[in-house]
Symmetry: C2
Subunit: 223 residues, 2 copies
């Protein structure tokens, strides 16, 4: 339970430096961590610059020594969150066996989102507060993530390791299960991040190893 898991993006100074990047000053990293907590708790617009700065012992103006604006701070948080999540997937893409590859990708994606559910909440739910340019930049990063899973499923099908499933549907379901973790996951619950990763990885393999097309014609009533 110790080690990789951290309720916080920065449990220790070393973890904080690794997560936010070594090139940033300690105070900047503290502000990012404070921002994560505040934005996750109340959302971007409900968070004041005083909330963020007072938590690290600075006055409101102190924020502008390290960041150009509140929005810039949010952007740095969301960008770093997406980049770190993507980093986690790298290396698993080249696993030779298609099943082991997809299993490992899903496991890593799920474990990351459970471990970093606070950063994840900001990354997923505060996108709308970004400027159009920043927003677009994040969408670009997301396309990479989607592509990683898309390719893993596609390759498995081409290699005849998976059934001829609907790639988009399966990828959507994988991303949904992983992303939605940040909404409900709390450490100390019934399942550890690893257990959730295993469960969802099993589920994913079950999605791709048998047909998903046999939907009978629907009755039509939904009222």
């Amino acid at each position: 339970m110790a080690g990789s898991a951290a309720d916080d993006p920065a449990g220790t100074d070393a973890e904080s430096a690794r997560f936010w990047g070594l090139e940033r000053s300690e105070q900047a990293r503290r502000l990012l961590t404070s921002g994560v907590r505040c934005f996750a708790a109340g959302g971007f617009h409900a968070t004041t610059t005083r909330d963020i700065t007072s938590a690290v012992g600075l006055s409101p103006g102190g924020l502008y020594v390290h960041f150009a604006s509140k929005e810039q701070l949010l952007f740095e948080i969301i960008r770093t969150g997406h980049v770190r999540s993507l980093d986690t997937l790298r290396g698993a893409e080249t696993t030779p066996d298609a099943q082991a590859r997809l299993r490992e990708l899903v496991r890593r994606f799920v474990v990351w989102h459970a471990d970093h559910h606070v950063v994840g909440r900001v990354s997923q739910y505060e996108l709308g507060a970004l400027s159009p340019q920043h927003h677009e930049e994040i969408l670009e990063l997301r396309r990479f993530t989607t592509t990683v899973f898309h390719d893993a499923v596609r390759q498995g099908i081409d290699e005849r390791a998976f059934a001829d499933v609907d790639v988009h549907r399966v990828v959507r379901a994988i991303l949904s299960l992983g992303v939605d973790l940040v909404r409900w996951y709390r450490p100390g619950g019934a399942d550890s991040p690893q257990q959730l990763g295993d469960f969802y990885a099993d589920l994913t393999l079950r999605m791709v190893t048998s047909a998903t097309e046999p939907s009978p014609p629907p009755g039509g009533d939904t009222a």
Copy 2:
């Protein structure tokens, strides 16, 4: 494709009245619909009373003729969203066959969230802006929803129709897939609400008809 589906909570006056309740005045319903659109687009705190009222041709003060506060308007939206979603499940709970029962529950849940993804987005993401009392009232409604799915899975296991799966995990996955729809679903995409309902219902049945415990002891590395 016509009929039950509506991008908007209130495509026509008749639909609006049915969704928000016949006892409400037409202007109140218009404000609720405008609130949904504004809150979904920018979030509660980024939405001004002027945004909401100007969309229905009223001045800022006009909101307070119909609602006590902006928060009260949000609460009415979220409460109605949860109640309507629950209403949709009712009736499917008593289907005699366990598999058909669970399938129908998932289908209805998914179709509702796709059809009402705008209201759903507000209901799911703006909970934090509610007063503590209102928040608690909504959590109470959510417990009902969880219980419906919990019981359906539990009963299936007891009747030996399902494998001895982890009920909480399965219910979490069902709710995640359904709820996360409101984040990404847009009408006009590859799948209709009904197709998504069928796909996720199939997926659910696959979760409960074979074991989910065989997770091997994890290696420990997630970096």
